[in-house]
């Protein structure tokens, strides 16, 4: 029996909702407001209401460039999530093997990438790993007698390079969550399963996965969104001003950024942002179907 009460839950969540209203909802409303004005470089302070004409222009921007960005983003999200979940599961499984005395040390070391500010990591990778002249990967390649590779100059290698970096940066969180979830599984289940003669596969399939699923669902949903929204990696690795690498990889967010912020036309760019946000909502609804919430 779950509690029923009309006002108490709102009282409990009032302060959060206020905070979210201020920091998350207000900016969205403000962006919508600006999207109906002609605020741009030439009307920086004296902008006026111009109805839907920004939206008419924004929609013409959703051309093939946007569609391919959307496509890239979906592949990016799916690939990253699948690999992340799979690897994190295996690592967490390993960490929870009984008798692994150094597990705590390994865990802390594996968390290191997470402890570093994102842009620092990206910079380290761009210079230390991928740089065609000085990067470690190219040093290894040339030591083995291969010719040097410019990892970031073509779209597909750049996509894979970005993905490796994203996995490196994002895995620690999921490993930590998985590890926490593993420890909440009641050991007695395994003991009785062993008595029933269930093998390794069966234990994983029928005990571990079902038990950790409800605990992990929220973090996986959150990670999916973060992956979808990922901007820093692709931007700083391949298209930072002054060091373009030649790849023309675009995700929805970098596309929005490029179309929105470069032109200094806040009215138009707000309209583009809102249209793209609309697409993200559609995407969320799509994901939402995957979340089956138990009905009370």
């Amino acid at each position: 029996m779950k509690k029923k009460n009309k006002f108490l839950p709102w009282g409990y969540s009032f302060s959060s909702i206020l905070l979210i209203g201020l920091i998350v909802v207000f900016p969205i409303i403000y962006t919508i407001y600006i999207s109906f004005t002609n605020m741009n470089l030439y009307h920086w302070t004296d902008y006026e209401f111009i109805a839907f004409s920004n939206y008419r222009r924004a929609l013409t921007k959703l051309d093939s460039g946007f569609m391919s960005a959307l496509f890239t983003t979906i592949i990016w999200t799916v690939l990253n999530m699948v690999i992340q979940i799979f690897v994190a599961y295996l690592v967490a499984l390993g960490l929870n093997v009984k008798g692994l005395k150094l597990a705590r040390l390994y865990k802390t070391l594996l968390m290191f990438p997470w402890a570093m500010p994102a842009y620092v990591s990206i910079l380290l990778w761009r210079v230390g790993m991928y740089n065609p002249q000085y990067g470690l990967l190219n040093k290894i390649l040339s030591a083995l007698g291969f010719s040097k590779v410019d990892f970031l100059s073509e779209n597909i290698p750049a996509f894979l390079s970005c993905m490796v970096l994203n996995l490196w940066m994002a895995l620690p969180f999921l490993i930590m969550m998985m590890d926490g979830a593993f420890q909440s599984v009641d050991n007695s289940y395994y003991e009785s399963a062993k008595l029933d003669g269930a093998g390794w596969w069966a234990q994983n399939l029928y005990i571990t996965i079902p038990s950790i699923k409800p605990i992990l669902a929220p973090s996986i949903i959150m990670t999916t969104f973060t992956t979808f929204k990922q901007f820093d990696i692709i931007y700083l690795l391949t298209m930072q001003k002054g060091s373009l690498t030649g790849a023309t990889l675009q995700t929805v967010i970098t596309y929005a950024h490029q179309n929105a912020f470069v032109s200094n036309n806040y009215g138009l760019s707000s309209a583009v942002s809102i249209v793209i946000f609309g697409f993200i909502i559609l995407f969320s609804l799509f994901i939402n179907r995957g979340i089956r919430e138990e009905k009370a």
């Binding site: 741009n40 470089l41 030439y42 920086w44 302070t45 222009r57 210079v127 740089n131 065609p132 002249q133 000085y134 040339s142 010719s147 040097k148 410019d150 100059s153 073509e154 001003k241 002054g242 060091s243 373009l244 690498t245 030649g246 790849a247 023309t248 490029q258 179309n259 470069v262 032109s263 200094n264 036309n265 138009l268």
Partner: protein, 413 residues
């Protein structure tokens, strides 16, 4: 467990109190500040720390009798910051110091006041005409030029064999004979996919990135020719990333580099025996000299400061126009002063690098300062990266990015 939680909470509460206190003292400080604020001038910049510290020191020394304090504050991503803060009395700067190419944007935004609102024309009469032109937008002078920069040909005297050639074709054949990519040694390196660093070729061929009518020139026939001609150089110039090319030169793996005066401090630190040649001393196959852009570092006045702090701002500007500052900048940081009178000093006139920049300044063009230029760097860089790094066909890429540029300009209105 509970004890630990309590401990954490206590620490957190203490921290909150501390932050609260520091906030209080801060507001107290702002109150105090408002009394003095009429004589404190805050200047935002995104430049070299040593240069700015020197200027700050110099100005404060000269203006202390008037009770004026000048503070230089570094903001990275200065253009974005000024776009956010605009002309903001409480939080924003009073003046800013930056390259002149973002000038038109700030003026159109309504953030800047013309210098004529604060000082008389006579104050900046001695500045080099090229630097004045750079700080002039729609027939009003907005920037007080301080120093200017052009790209230079910097070479390692211990590595370069024989004379430095005087035509680009000879330079290319030298590069071909002295570059070993597998070994990682280069004759010349350049940021070959950065618009600013390829502009000497484009301008020299008679092409343009953007003309004064705000028309992008990426698909101009002359520009295409330049990009095609430049590509064979790019192939022999390593990755072209700023840090890569610098490191190559400073480690003695590249015999020469095309770069600005801002590289010199690092070159000296690496104890390289360097020589300098002006880019205008290289002739292209069409007989023209390489024609780099020149960038003028100048100081502009925010609107609110021009009204509320007129006297203090005027004093600061007058002091900046003093030729002595130019001499100091030249002697300490190797900047080429905008003030012609600074060149009367012997040390300035005899400085090899400054002389080279001054000579380049005769053929160099100031970067366009119209607002549309701010959206041109992106597509130009994309075009160069596509041609030089991804090996795209120069002609189709040029047409493609011309369209991107045209769209970006249309999006501004």
């Amino acid at each position: 467990m509970k004890k630990k939680m309590a401990l954490i909470l206590c620490i957190a509460m203490a921290a909150m109190c501390l932050s609260g206190c520091s906030k209080n003292t801060e507001s107290f400080a702002t109150k105090q500040e408002s009394k003095e604020s009429l004589t404190t001038i805050r200047i935002w910049h995104d430049g070299d720390k040593a240069i700015m510290q020197m200027m700050e020191h110099r100005l404060n020394e000269a203006l202390s009798d008037n009770g004026i304090t000048v503070k230089f504050e570094q903001k990275s991503g200065l253009t974005d910051q000024i776009k956010l803060y605009e002309s903001d009395e409480v939080n924003g700067p009073d003046m800013y110091m930056y390259a002149h190419d973002s000038l038109g944007m700030f003026v159109e935004m309504g953030a800047l006041a013309p210098l004529a609102d604060v000082i008389d024309k006579k104050v900046y009469a001695d500045m080099l005409p090229m630097t004045l032109k750079a700080g002039n937008y729609k027939d009003s002078q907005y920037l007080m030029p301080v120093y200017f920069e052009t790209l230079l040909f910097i070479y390692n005297k211990d590595l370069w064999e024989g004379e430095v050639p005087s035509t680009t074709d000879e330079l290319y054949s030298y590069m071909k004979n002295h570059t070993d990519i597998t070994k990682g040694t280069y004759a010349l390196v350049n940021q070959h996919s950065t618009a600013y660093n390829v502009a000497p070729f484009i301008n020299g061929f008679g092409g343009f990135i953007m003309n004064e009518q705000a028309k992008p020139g990426l698909s101009d026939e002359k520009t295409k020719e330049a990009v095609e001609y430049h590509k064979k150089f790019a192939d022999l110039e390593a990755d072209g990333d700023y840090n890569t090319v610098n490191a190559l030169f400073n480690e003695g793996k590249a015999a020469a580099i095309i770069g600005g005066p801002w590289l010199i401090a690092g070159v000296k630190e690496a104890k390289i025996n360097y020589g300098i040649k002006s880019l205008s001393d290289f002739t292209l196959p069409n007989g023209n000299a390489l024609a780099p852009y020149s960038g003028v570092q100048g100081i502009g006045v925010m609107k609110h400061a021009a009204e509320a702090k007129k006297d203090a701002v005027a004093k600061v500007l007058e002091e900046i126009a003093n030729p002595e500052i130019g001499i100091d900048l030249a002697e300490n940081s190797g900047c080429a002063p905008a003030n012609q009178k600074s060149y009367e000093s012997k040390t300035v006139a005899n400085d090899e690098m400054i002389a080279a920049m001054r000579r380049t300044a005769d053929t160099a063009q100031p970067m366009p300062n119209i607002p549309q230029m701010s959206v041109m760097w992106g597509p130009t860089e994309s075009l160069l990266a596509a041609v030089n790094k991804s090996g795209k066909d120069f002609s189709t890429a040029a047409d493609e990015y011309q369209k991107v540029a045209e769209n970006a300009i249309a999006d501004m209105k």
